[in-house]
Symmetry: C2
Subunit: 265 residues, 2 copies
């Protein structure tokens, strides 16, 4: 009843190398090893191999299989635990798939037209944003904004288009993070918001207060909201929460206080 490696391999539908590997890691030692080093497997080893293969098909890693078969780990409990892992893994995949679809839409969507619209949108948005700013935060903020406008007026259309492309990719990453369950006030999210903050700084000398205020605009100002919505309809809220969290945690902005304090770096 003893079988050689290749016999067992054929019987069980695995490779000889796999049997050797299972021997090496101690998962399935042969029943007998001859003086010449040849491995011989008996009935108990075949049964064990069957159990190994069943668990392997369920996706259980080899060390896990070893624990189940050797130590008294409850097979069913172990499988339940493994099931949880697979569910998490599937969630990850689903998040990726959603993010891919968004990305494809955002990047493949009629490129030329989208960029035209985006370009036009930016110019128009800026004038309306000025009014919004003046109304919400006073003429001083609006004046600062106008200064930025003048400085960036010389930007070429190409600059804008690149900005738009960069910005879109950043927003896509945010949406992907959100889908993975990343909260807007977590460290991981703040790394992304940081990019946003840096981008804003190139257009507009934001203070902690005004950047915090941008959180409102992103949700309530139609133009600002539209830009973000181009990537994902529900993203403005997440981004707004992130912007506020960033202002508080990284810029030292404090609600209900007149004076904003720079975080000591």
């Amino acid at each position: 009843m003893e079988r050689t490696v290749s016999e067992v391999a054929k019987l069980a539908g695995v490779s000889v190398r796999t049997l050797r590997h299972y021997d090496t890691i101690g998962l399935l030692p042969p029943g007998r090893v001859a003086a010449n080093g040849y491995r011989y497997y008996g009935r108990p080893e075949l049964l064990r191999l069957q159990r190994i293969l069943l668990l392997r098909e369920l996706g259980v890693p080899l060390p896990g299989i070893a624990r189940i078969l050797d130590e008294q780990d409850d097979e069913v409990a172990a499988l339940q635990g493994h099931r949880e892992e697979l569910l998490r893994e599937r969630k990850r995949l689903d998040a990726m798939l959603g993010a891919i679809e968004r990305t494809v839409v955002a990047l493949s969507g009629d490129d030329s037209v989208a960029d035209d619209e985006f370009f036009a949108g930016l110019s128009e948005a800026r004038s309306r944003l000025r009014d919004d700013l003046a109304e919400r935060y006073g003429e001083e903020a609006a004046a600062g904004f106008e200064k930025a406008v003048r400085e960036t007026e010389a930007w070429t259309r190409e600059d804008y288009e690149r900005m738009g492309d960069e910005g879109r990719r950043l927003l896509l990453r945010m949406a992907a993070a959100r889908d993975r369950g990343v909260g807007p006030d977590t460290d991981e999210a703040l790394e992304l918001i940081e990019q946003h903050y840096q981008g804003v700084l190139e257009l507009w000398p934001a203070t902690p207060t005004s950047y915090y205020g941008l959180g409102d605009l992103l949700v309530e100002n139609a133009d600002q909201r539209a830009v973000v919505e181009m990537v994902d309809k529900d993203l403005p809220e997440w981004l707004a929460a992130g912007v506020r969290a960033y202002a508080v945690k990284r810029l030292g902005y404090r609600r209900n206080e007149e004076e904003t304090v720079r975080r000591s770096v």
Copy 2:
């Protein structure tokens, strides 16, 4: 505007080691390398890093990212292709999850009671199977079967229980394979059917013809069907098809011929 590794790492939320790795594989070389070997990154590298990280979050492997960014591979097309892979991966996970649930049910289901039932079922099934056999294949087959019955009558209950456990695990593997899309007449399936055939041989000296006939019994004989259904309600059909395929391909059974021919091994 030049940043050191740790600055870039902090900005982008990756590890220094990651940047070094991306340099090593040529995915993201620093803009400048000083005489002392220090890496310095400029604006273009930061932008490239952002694009890398977006694609990475979408699950695209690094070589794929390199192709997209460097060669003129269409980003959107590449993502579509990648999406297909993720979908396949998810299908695999779903198959595993289904198999796990079946396994948990089949193995955890009230062990003692189930085994009692299974044991009782086996005895009872054998007598009814004899009648079925006589009716379908004549007294000769039935007589051969009775001989097997006498030989296995001495088996202890423990033997049966172990058989039941072995058999269940084998059936579970079959159901898992089926869920992965494995056809009952493929080589992979026949490896599993082989186990079934060997198991049957221990109870009953099956000929190619009688084993082929077992295909019918598995679907139509209530007791036989019930045993397989314990694992999965739809498995009997798949197993029956596999049994017939095995009889034809591996045992040399031929439909519509009186004489069955042993396959020359």
